[in-house]
């Protein structure tokens, strides 16, 4: 099924807020990078470099495009840092986020604490939890977005929930 350009733009606009939230998760809440990724993803969809094949819902397909685009941006950013002589230690995607996340946890508001706790999870667990709880997708749909089996997605989901709760619990007890 080929969508017209105007239809595509209308679909993109309809899902924009959800896409923004998903892009934030893919970019570890770096808002500027998330907007870059969204911009690139929208251009891909509108230019036809990414074409919707109706094998899934438009939303899950679009989330897949955003996820891949975020990975491309991450790689490009890594190369850029290497090229400009930057240190790999400063790259948030490869560096251990735990110290920053831990310090954030102590002082942040509820939403920020949740973001910080999510930042302490491995990427797959974080993504599955976001897709299920934030985007209200089923585990099967989340598996489709991530390109993994439903069983794998369920494992990440269960482990992620346990770990997220254990991270948030001490803060709740204070």
């Amino acid at each position: 099924m080929e969508l017209e350009r105007s239809d595509l733009e209308a679909q993109l606009e309809r899902h924009h807020e959800a896409c923004y939230g998903w892009a934030l998760t893919c970019c570890r809440w770096d808002r500027s990078e998330a907007e870059d990724v969204l911009n690139s993803s929208y251009l891909k969809v509108i230019d036809g470099r990414a074409s919707y094949g109706s094998r899934s819902t438009f939303k899950t397909w679009l989330f897949g495009v955003i996820r891949r685009t975020a990975a491309e941006h991450r790689r490009r950013s890594l190369l850029h840092r290497l090229w400009s002589g930057g240190s790999l230690d400063n790259i948030p995607e490869t560096a251990d986020p735990a110290p920053d996340a831990a310090s954030m946890l102590r002082s942040a508001e509820s939403s920020e604490r949740l973001v910080a706790a999510l930042g302490m999870l491995p990427p797959r667990q974080r993504e599955v939890l976001h897709l299920v709880f934030y985007q209200d997708l089923t585990i099967a749909e989340a598996a489709q977005v991530l390109g993994v089996s439903v069983g794998t997605a369920r494992t990440h989901y269960e482990r992620g929930k346990t770990r997220l709760r254990s991270t948030l619990k001490p803060e709740d007890d204070e």
């Binding site: 924009h16 939230g21 870059d36 911009n39 690139s40 709760r165």
Partner: protein, 142 residues
């Protein structure tokens, strides 16, 4: 306790986060028409790579050209000198050439031939020549 109740706390937290982010999301058009910093950055990085590659290629070309020029000059100059001095060498004698001349070399150059008497103590022509001295019986020719 069903699944919904078990995860209710997490759903509540995520719902609050979603509301917060909805406010911050900005309009679709703003993001759609955003001049991508990442794209610019990518282009700049690509241009740097291309320019660095061009500089390396130019440097390598100049170096190779210079080296081959030097080699070319080195191989041509001795050849030219040899060609120029080839003519005088043909008529040139070394001052120590006499050392190479062995005593009696003229004997080797002048091989005796049968019937020829030159230089062997015989007088007259080869035909009808007779010995000048007494023969084996003590008679001298008249």
């Amino acid at each position: 306790m069903n699944r919904e109740d078990m995860d209710g706390d997490l759903r509540e937290r995520f719902a609050r986060l979603r509301e917060d982010e909805r406010v911050r999301a900005g309009s679709f058009l703003r993001v759609r028409t955003r001049s991508s910093r990442a794209l610019d950055r990518g282009w700049t990085a690509s241009m740097r790579v291309v320019m660095a590659a061009a500089a390396v290629i130019a440097f390598a070309f100049v170096t190779v050209t210079r080296v081959s020029d030097r080699r070319g000059t080195a191989s041509v100059v001795p050849g030219a000198v040899t060609a120029m001095s080839a003519l005088p060498i043909g008529s040139w004698d070394a001052p120590t050439d006499f050392l190479l001349k062995t005593p009696g070399a003229q004997l080797l150059n002048t091989l005796p031939s049968i019937g020829r008497t030159r230089g062997w103590g015989l007088t007259g022509d080869a035909e009808g020549a007779r010995p000048v001295g007494p023969d084996s019986q003590g008679r001298t020719p008249s």
